[in-house]
C-alpha cells in the first residue's frame, strides 16, 4: 500500500476531529485544535490525491469521514442511534461516492520510485 493511502486515512481522522470540534469545542484551545484539524485534513488530502486516483481516494476519504462522524456521535456523545437516519446517510454517501466514481476525472501523476 502506498503511503499516500495512509495520508487519506489520517486526513479522514482529522476530518472527524474538526467535525467534533465544530459541534463541541468551547475553549480557545479546543477551537484552535479544530482549525488545525481543518488545515491538516485539507493539506493531507491534497497531498495524497496528487499521487492517487482522485475519485477513488476522495470516495474512501468521504466514506471514512461520514461513517466516522456518525459512529463518534453515537459512541462518544450519546446521540441516539436511529436506523432510518443511518440508512439515509448511507444512501446519501452512495450518491456522493457513486458520483465521484463515474465522473471522468484528472489522472494522478505517476508515483516517483517505490513508496
Amino acid at each position: 500500500m502506498s503511503k499516500h493511502w495512509i495520508f487519506i486515512v489520517v486526513a479522514a481522522c482529522f476530518e472527524i476531529g474538526w467535525v467534533i470540534g465544530l459541534k463541541h469545542a468551547s475553549t480557545i484551545m479546543e477551537w484552535g485544535l479544530t482549525v488545525v484539524a481543518i488545515l491538516a485534513s485539507f493539506v493531507l488530502l491534497i497531498a495524497a490525491t496528487a499521487r492517487l486516483p482522485v475519485a477513488t481516494a476522495y470516495a474512501v476519504f468521504v466514506g471514512l469521514g461520514t461513517a466516522g462522524t456518525v459512529i463518534a456521535e453515537t459512541l462518544l456523545f450519546g446521540e441516539p442511534f436511529e436506523l432510518v437516519k443511518a440508512l439515509l446517510i448511507g444512501l446519501l454517501l452512495t450518491g456522493v461516492i457513486g458520483l465521484k466514481l463515474v465522473t471522468p476525472g484528472e489522472k494522478p501523476k505517476p508515483e516517483k520510485g517505490v513508496s
Partner: protein, 104 residues
C-alpha cells in the same frame, strides 16, 4: 433555520472549491482571499447548524451538497458529460437530503 445554515454552508464550500481551482491556475491573491473567506463562512455556518442538528447528519448533507454542486457546475458550465449514471447519483443525493430533513 439549521437546515438553511447547512445548505448555505454547502454552497459556500462549492464557492471555496471553485476559488481553490482558480488559485491553482492563476496564483493570484484575490482567489486566495475569497477561498479563505468562503471556507471560514462555511465552517461557521456548520457550527451554527450543529447547535440543533446531529453532527453526522450535518456533515453528510454538507458533503452531499458539495458533490452535487460540483457535478452540476461541471455538467452545465463546463460541458462535462450528462450521463444517466451521473444524473441518477445526483438525484440519489437530493432524495436522501430531502428524506433526512423530513425525518429530523
Amino acid at each position: 433555520m439549521a437546515w438553511v445554515y447547512v445548505i448555505v454552508a454547502g454552497l459556500l464550500e462549492m464557492f471555496g472549491l471553485a476559488m481553490m481551482n482558480r488559485f491553482k491556475l492563476e496564483k493570484k491573491l484575490l482567489p486566495l482571499v475569497l477561498l479563505v473567506i468562503g471556507f471560514s463562512a462555511s465552517f461557521f455556518l456548520l457550527s451554527l447548524a450543529m447547535e440543533t442538528l446531529p453532527m453526522g447528519t450535518v456533515y453528510a448533507v454538507w458533503t452531499g451538497i458539495g458533490a452535487f454542486g460540483g457535478a452540476a457546475i461541471g455538467m452545465f458550465v463546463y460541458g462535462e458529460p450528462k450521463t444517466a449514471s451521473r444524473i441518477f447519483f445526483i438525484f440519489l443525493i437530493l432524495g436522501s437530503v430531502i428524506a433526512l430533513k423530513a425525518v429530523s
